[in-house]
Amino acid sequence: MTTARAAAILLAKELRLEFRTRELLNATVVFSLIVIVLFSYTFEPTAAESRRYGPGLLWIAFLFAGSLMLHPSFAREQLNDTLDALRMTPVSSFAILLGKMLANFVFLSLSELVLVPVFAVLYNLSLSGVAGRLIIVLILGTSGLVITGTVFSAIAAHARMRELLLPLLLLPILAPLLIAAVEATALLLAEKPALDPTWVTFLGGFDIVFLTASWLLCDFLVEE
C-alpha cells in the first residue's frame, strides 16, 4: 500500500474522531477569538493601525492556538496504546505522521476560516481584493506550523508536563515562519496589496526543509 493511501485512511480516521466531538476545533476557535478580542485593547483598531499591527496579531493567535491544539495529536493515541496497533500494520511510519499532519492542517485551516473574517470585521480591514493571495500565505504558513507541530507533539507526548512543553519547543522554532508569514500578510493588507515572492518562497522553503527532516526522522519518532 502506498504511503499516500495509508495517510488518507489515517486522515479519515482523525477527522472522524474529531468531528464526533469537535472538542479541538471548538477550543481552538474560542481561544483564538479571545486572543483577537484582547488584542483590541492594546491599540486603537482604526484601519491604518490595524494594517500595522493586525498581521502580527493574527499570526500570533494562530501560533498560540496551533501550539495548544496540536498537543492531543499523539497524546490521544496513548489511551489503549493505539499507536502500537498502527505500528503493527504494514503502514510506514511516515504515513502515520503524514496522516496526522494532514488532519491537523484541516483543523487549523478550518479555525482560520472562521477567524480571518471575524478579524477583518473587528479590525476594519477589507480582504475582498486579496482573498486568493491571502489563502496562499495562510496555506504555506499553516503547513509549516503543523509539520513542525505534529513532530513535536510526538516528542512531547512522552514527556512530563507535556501540555506546557509543546509550546516551549514549538514557538522558538517557528520564529522564522512567524516573521515571513506576518510580513507577507502585512504586504497584502498594505495600501497597494502585493504578494511578495521572497516571503512566499521563504515559507515554501520552511515547509520543505521540515517536511524532509520529518520524513528522514519519522522512524525514530514513532519507534518504541
Binding site: M1, I9, N80, D81, D84, A85, M88, T89, P90
Partner: protein, 254 residues
C-alpha cells in the same frame, strides 16, 4: 457466537519465529537475558511465568514493536526473513512479516471513540485487505458483537472490549498469533469462544505464542510450554515434548 468466520487467512505460508540470544534492557533494567527460543511454524506455545518475567517484552519484540538491545529475531517459514529492517534477501519484507502477525496486547489497541465496526474497518484498510465490509461483518458476527457494531468501544463492557480486541488481531488472517494474557476480562462465554477459535486456528497451522500467568482453558491447546523467570527461560518442554507437566504446575500454583 461461533468459532467460524473470524479469519480468512491471506495465505497459507507457514511462519515460525526464532529468538537468538535476545536481550532487552530498559535503561539499566534487564527484561530479557539472552533468550534463545526457536518456535516452529504450527506450534502452539504457552508462555508461562509470573508478572515481570519478561513475557510481554518477548511478545512485543516478536510483534516488531520494539527492537532487542542485542541478539536477533528471525522469522522462519517458506522464505527466511530477519526481523530487523528493510527488504530482506528471502524476498519477504518487514511489511510482509507484519501482515502475517496478529497480536492481542495488554491494552485493547482499539479507539474508544470509534464504533466496533469503524475500528475493524480502519484496521482492515490499513492491512490493505480487500472485501473490507464483508470481513468486518464476518468478524463482528464471529465475536458476537454484530448487534453492537455501531456502538462506541468506550461504551463496551470489559469482556466485549476484549472480544473485539481478539477479533481485530485475527482480522487479517495472521499466520503468527501473539497473545498477551488474552483471557483477561473475558467472561465464561468469551472463554469458550476464544478456546474454540484458537483450536481452529491451531488446526489450520497458525503458529500461536500465548502468555499467561494464570489458568485459562485455552492453555490446554498448547503443544509446548515455555516458562520464563526473571528474563530467562526456566523450563521448556521442547518441540514435540509434553507440555502437561509444566501446565499442571501452573494449575497447582493457581
Amino acid at each position: 457466537m461461533s468459532a467460524r468466520g473470524t479469519s480468512t487467512p491471506s495465505g497459507h505460508q507457514p511462519l515460525g519465529i526464532s529468538f537468538e540470544r535476545v536481550e532487552k534492557r530498559f535503561g539499566s533494567l534487564v527484561a530479557l537475558r539472552k533468550v534463545s527460543l526457536n518456535i516452529r511454524s504450527g506450534e502452539f506455545v504457552a508462555l508461562l511465568g509470573p508478572n515481570g518475567a519478561g513475557k510481554s517484552t518477548l511478545l512485543r519484540i516478536a510483534a516488531l514493536l520494539m527492537n532487542p538491545s542485542s541478539g536477533q529475531v528471525q522469522f522462519t517459514g517458506a522464505a527466511e526473513c530477519r526481523g530487523d529492517s528493510g527488504p530482506q534477501d528471502g524476498g519477504r519484507t518487514r511489511e510482509d512479516v507484519k501482515r502475517s502477525i496478529g497480536m492481542v496486547g495488554h491494552s485493547i489497541l482499539l479507539y474508544d471513540e470509534l464504533s466496533a465496526a469503524e475500528n475493524l474497518t480502519l484496521f482492515a484498510e490499513l492491512y490493505g485487505l480487500d472485501d473490507v465490509s464483508r470481513r468486518v461483518v464476518g468478524a463482528l458476527e464471529a465475536c458476537g458483537l454484530a448487534s453492537r457494531s455501531r456502538g462506541l468501544v468506550r461504551t463496551f463492557s470489559r469482556g466485549m472490549r476484549q472480544r473485539l480486541a481478539i477479533a481485530r488481531a485475527l482480522l487479517h488472517g495472521p499466520r503468527l498469533l501473539l497473545l498477551d494474557e488474552p483471557a483477561a476480562g473475558l467472561d465464561r462465554q468469551g472463554h469458550l469462544w476464544m478456546g474454540a477459535t484458537l483450536a481452529r486456528l491451531r488446526d489450520e497451522g497458525c503458529t500461536v505464542l500465548m502468555s499467561t500467568h494464570a489458568r485459562n482453558e485455552s492453555v490446554d491447546l498448547a503443544t509446548r510450554a515455555v516458562s520464563l523467570l526473571a528474563g530467562r527461560i526456566e523450563e521448556d518442554s521442547g518441540p514435540g515434548g509434553d507440555p502437561r507437566p509444566l501446565l499442571a504446575a501452573l494449575r497447582a500454583e493457581a
